[in-house]
Structure formats: C-alpha cells, structure tokens
Symmetry: C2
DNA sequence: TAACTATTTAGATAATTTTCTAAATTGTTC
DNA sequence: GAACAATTTAGAAAATTATCTAAATAGTTA
C-alpha cells in the first residue's frame, strides 16, 4: 500500500517539480505555490498528497509552513524496480 | 515526457502486477487477463499503456500475442530518483 | 483584541482514467 | 472460404484526480 501511494504521488509532473525544488532547500507553501501557475489551494492539495506519501515533511516557523524533501521513501520503489531485474547497464545490481 | 509515461504506467497496481507476472516469462494477452478479475478488453487497455511506455514488447505467434517485460526503461526513473538524493542506505549512490 | 498573513479545507466543476459490453480485426484451421 | 479463436478497438458509463473560488483556521503583530 505504501508503494502505491508513493508511485501515485510521483506520477504527477507538478508533484515531481515540487520534489525537485525541495532538493536544494526547504521552501514555504507560498514560495512553492509561486513557482506554479496554479492557485495556492491547488498547490496545497499537491503538498498534502506528497505529505501523505511521506515524500515531504513540514515544520512550522512563524506563520509559515516549510516543507522539506524526504527521499528515503524511495527505498521501497527502488527495491521493487531492481526486483523486476533492471535491463540497463550503469546501475549497480549487485546489491539487489 | 518519456518518464512521465513510465511513471503513469507504473502508478496503477494492475499494471505493476502485469510487469511482475512477466518478470518470470512471457505470457499471451489471454493468459495475462486470466490472472485478473477484469474483462479481456480492460486488460488489453492496460497492456496498451505498458506498451506505449515501452515497458513491455509483444511478439506474435500463431494467433496469440505474447508480451515480454522490458525493464531497461527504468533507467531514466532510477536516474531521476538518485538525482533527488536517496535518503536510504543500502543503494549504491556512488555511480549517480 | 483587532487586523493581518499564510495556509488549509469545503464544495463544485472539469479533466482524466478505468472499466464494461458489443463490435471489429487478424490470423488459423477445417 | 466459412467458422472459429485471440485480441483489439469503439463508445459509453463510472470512478478518480486535479483544479478553481470562497470560506475557515491558525498564528502574528500592532
């Protein structure tokens, strides 16, 4: 179930862009929304889904809510992909 | 664009199950459909999406169409995930 | 405490995705 | 070539997801 949520979360391009943004540093909800041509409420909805999937976490400061990336959740996805037997070359299969 | 299609494709549990099934060996469309409590047409639809994402390929034999897994497509996804900076431990980051 | 700021929640609509049944296609066999 | 078998395509309905505007929350500051 957890993986389904993770994969659903990253299947949307807006949400992937949010993750990419947070790769550098944490941003407030407003700052994140500012990057998109979408309403604040819509971005808030995407943040909620990412949060539910544990791909991001939040911490409040003043009256801002800052979001940060939590990429460790991808472990399960990687295990699944490697389990399928990657056809590629560059990635280190040995450990999987 | 390619990655979006890949991630959309694997965001559905039925399609992931199809990939898992094909991990062992190739199966005909009918054999695949037999694994699910869904109509043949619905499974055919899922196979089409997987095919469009190049996650599977087909080869005809008699009047069967056999499908096989093509996991090499995951390369791009893995690169993206590693680019995000995996928080885990077990996976070999060095190459990414 | 009143006004303000940042963000979320509610409720509605639009868009996309999944599913079904029925019909069409493609290839096989008698 | 007619009947059959495996699969896909078409078209419609159901379910889910993404989006918006307006209202509600919660925390801050004057």
């Amino acid at each position: 179930m957890a993986m389904n949520q993770t994969l659903k979360a990253i299947s949307d391009p807006v949400r992937r862009q949010i993750l990419e943004l947070l790769k550098a540093k944490s941003y407030s909800a407003g700052e994140i929304a500012g990057q998109f041509d979408l309403s604040q409420a819509t971005v808030s909805y995407h943040l909620k889904l990412l949060k539910q999937a544990s791909l991001i976490s939040e911490h409040k400061q003043k009256n801002f809510i800052y979001y940060e990336l939590n990429a460790s959740v991808f472990e399960e996805v990687l295990t699944w992909i490697y389990g399928l037997g990657i056809g590629g070359n560059d990635h280190d299969k040995a450990h999987h």
